[in-house]
């Protein structure tokens, strides 16, 4: 029976064809939200975000163009702060320290994490317990971690120097945080101590997610542990490792608490980071001027976003090339 016959059977109402209100036609889908619904869900978060994140960011940009020594009478000075920044030795030092820390230290974090994860993956006794124990430092606040390591690095009775002296390496003992050539490295180690567990857990999850067939195939191809690690496991885990690197990188660009409590940027600016320097210029110096530190924050904001975007792009580019 052709379709036409079917249509003909429908009883056509005598009323005019368009008896339904025209406005209903092609109206919004029942699944689409009304603006009221959307606002109920989104407005609280958006208002808060606008007021306490978006507006402050804009205001910091604006502040950077003003001299705010007297907060009630801001004086517009254009880009003067930005020009001043490029000749600010301490700022350049802070940038260098932070970048060194951000780019180099993540290797330490991620490598430690991967190594620890491999140990647990190899099937050692108490793996579950060890995983939980190693993760503990992640939960501790920077204040607590800083205090712990201040004491560990203490010249007279710190655990590190005691250990060195016990091994007869008295000459190596030093005030680790008090000397400008070791202070930054000492902070990096502390930071890695806190975060290694995090990287370990993520790597372990990625290891367990590896397709076991591929590992078995590698074994059939006569791969030893080292070869398997180098040719199979690490390449397969690349996305995870890169992701961890970026996370660690961003974390270190932001770091403040650790440095502030352990060294306050000293000695001789050897551990000064952008975060601590902004804080000092804003709140710890005698001159109370929020304009100049705002300019630093703006510059740093741009650098962090650009670096994150660059890393993201660079890693994505390489992914594309390989597959």
């Amino acid at each position: 029976m052709p379709a036409q016959a079917e249509t003909a059977r429908i009883a056509v109402p005598a009323t005019p064809r368009r008896w339904w209100p025209a406005s209903r036609q092609g109206g919004r889908d029942p699944g689409a939200p009304s603006w009221l619904t959307l606002m109920v869900f989104l407005a609280p978060a958006l208002v808060l975000y606008a007021g306490l994140t978006a507006y402050p960011v804009v205001r910091t940009f604006a502040d950077s163009l003003y001299d705010l020594e007297n907060m009630d009478a801001p004086r517009f000075i254009g880009l003067a702060h930005f020009l001043q920044i490029w000749s600010d030795e301490t700022f350049l030092r802070a940038i260098r320290n932070t970048l060194v820390w951000s780019f180099i230290a993540p290797f330490l974090d991620v490598a430690t994490g991967l190594l620890l994860a491999l140990c647990l993956y190899a099937g050692v006794p108490f793996a579950r317990f060890l995983r939980i124990a190693w993760f503990t430092p992640v939960l501790l606040s920077y204040v607590v971690v800083s205090i712990l390591w201040l004491w560990i690095y203490n010249y007279d009775w710190g655990a590190l120097n005691l250990a060195l002296r016990a091994m007869g390496l008295d000459g190596w003992a030093r005030a680790w945080l008090g000397e400008s050539n070791t202070a930054l490295a000492a902070l990096m180690v502390t930071h890695a101590w806190k975060w290694a567990g995090f990287n370990m857990v993520v790597c372990l999850a990625a290891l367990h997610a590896l397709p076991s067939e591929v590992l078995e195939a590698a074994e059939l191809d006569h791969c030893g542990w080292v070869a398997k690690l180098r040719h199979i496991i690490i390449p397969l885990m690349r996305p995870t490792l890169l992701n961890l690197y970026i996370l660690a990188f961003i974390g270190k660009m932001k770091v403040f608490d650790l440095v502030w409590i352990m060294t306050q940027g000293g000695p001789m600016w050897s551990t000064e980071t952008v975060s601590t320097y902004v804080y000092k210029r804003a709140f710890a110096w005698n001159t109370f001027d929020l304009g100049y530190p705002s300019a630093i924050a703006v510059v740093w904001f741009v650098i962090v976003l650009a670096a994150a975007a660059l890393l993201h792009l660079a890693f994505r580019q390489r992914e594309k090339l390989e597959y």
């Binding site: 109920v40 978060a45 306490l52 060890l130 503990t136 607590v144 995090f198 804003a282 929020l290």
Partner: protein, 282 residues
């Protein structure tokens, strides 16, 4: 046969020797500092100065009472609890609602909003720190709990929305349509379907936000100066004078700050680990 079995086991042990050594050493490396502070928290500063690595005998449990009452750790603890719990509750509610809207509804600007929120996760804190200080001063919120709570909510909002959106978006669309045929309004769908189904992710963000905020230092130190309102991380630091450290009291304070986290961790270790690594594990 037997001899060979022993030999195998011996070579196995030798081969695994380095591995086991790494395990033991690293476990000591992560736990010893903590045990050390635990021991110091039960010893007086005088005892500690005499021998920094002594065992707590006799154990001065009274130090905890002293810290709690005389050194105002009760106050710090209370401030931390009020501020962090309120902020976590608020950020969870706001974040879940926003995440639901972004995950479920198509509307112009949806992805733009998501991208803006997402990028905020990597903002360095300085970009808002200085102006938040001014804004709170302007609106008489500087040095108030409510001011710090609001800032904490805004700090954790992007990450909360990010994690919840990813989870909510995986709830099948059919479920919502079934609910609509059953007569649910948009708000009821959120409360009766999305929240219960998304509970694992919500718990994850609660844990993550709680730990982050419980440990937060920078904003707490900048936005609150009143001794009466200080939170734990700032409170402990008060005992770190430039020339004199009351090591015994600091150690006790550290334990007071850490014990709640450790207790929670002891009971919900898997959930905490999951929560803290959410977003990094794919």
């Amino acid at each position: 046969m037997k001899a060979q079995g022993w030999g195998d086991r011996l070579t196995g042990l030798l081969r695994r020797g380095p591995l086991l050594a790494v395990l033991v050493l690293y476990t000591l490396y992560t736990t010893l500092p903590f045990l050390w502070v635990g021991a110091m928290s039960l010893r007086t500063t005088a005892e500690i100065s005499a021998d920094h690595y002594g065992l707590p005998s006799p154990a001065h449990w009274g130090k905890f009472r002293a810290a709690w009452v005389d050194s105002n750790f009760a106050g710090y603890f209370w401030n931390s609890t009020v501020v962090v719990v309120t902020a976590v509750v608020v950020v969870t509610v706001l974040g879940a609602m926003a995440a639901h809207a972004l995950a479920r509804y198509k509307f112009p600007g949806n992805r733009l909003l998501y991208f803006i929120l997402f990028s905020s996760i990597i903002f360095p804190p300085q970009i808002v720190l200085l102006s938040l200080f001014q804004i709170l001063v302007n609106y008489d919120l500087y040095n108030t709990r409510i001011g710090l709570i609001l800032v904490y909510v805004s700090l954790q909002l992007p990450l909360t929305v990010f994690i919840l959106e990813a989870f909510f978006a995986r709830i099948p669309q059919d479920l919502f349509e079934a609910a609509r045929i059953d007569g649910y309004t948009d708000l009821q769908i959120f409360l009766r379907i999305v929240v219960p189904v998304g509970m694992p992710a919500i718990v994850t963000t609660v844990i993550l936000n709680f730990v982050h905020l419980w440990n937060e230092y920078l904003f707490a130190v900048v936005l609150v100066s009143d001794e009466e309102l200080r939170t734990l991380p700032v409170g402990i630091q008060r005992f770190m004078g430039d020339y004199f450290q009351d090591i015994g009291m600091i150690a006790t304070g550290v334990m007071i700050a850490v014990i709640p986290v450790i207790v929670v961790y002891a009971f919900f270790s898997e959930k905490l680990i999951q929560g803290m690594t959410a977003g990094a594990v794919k």
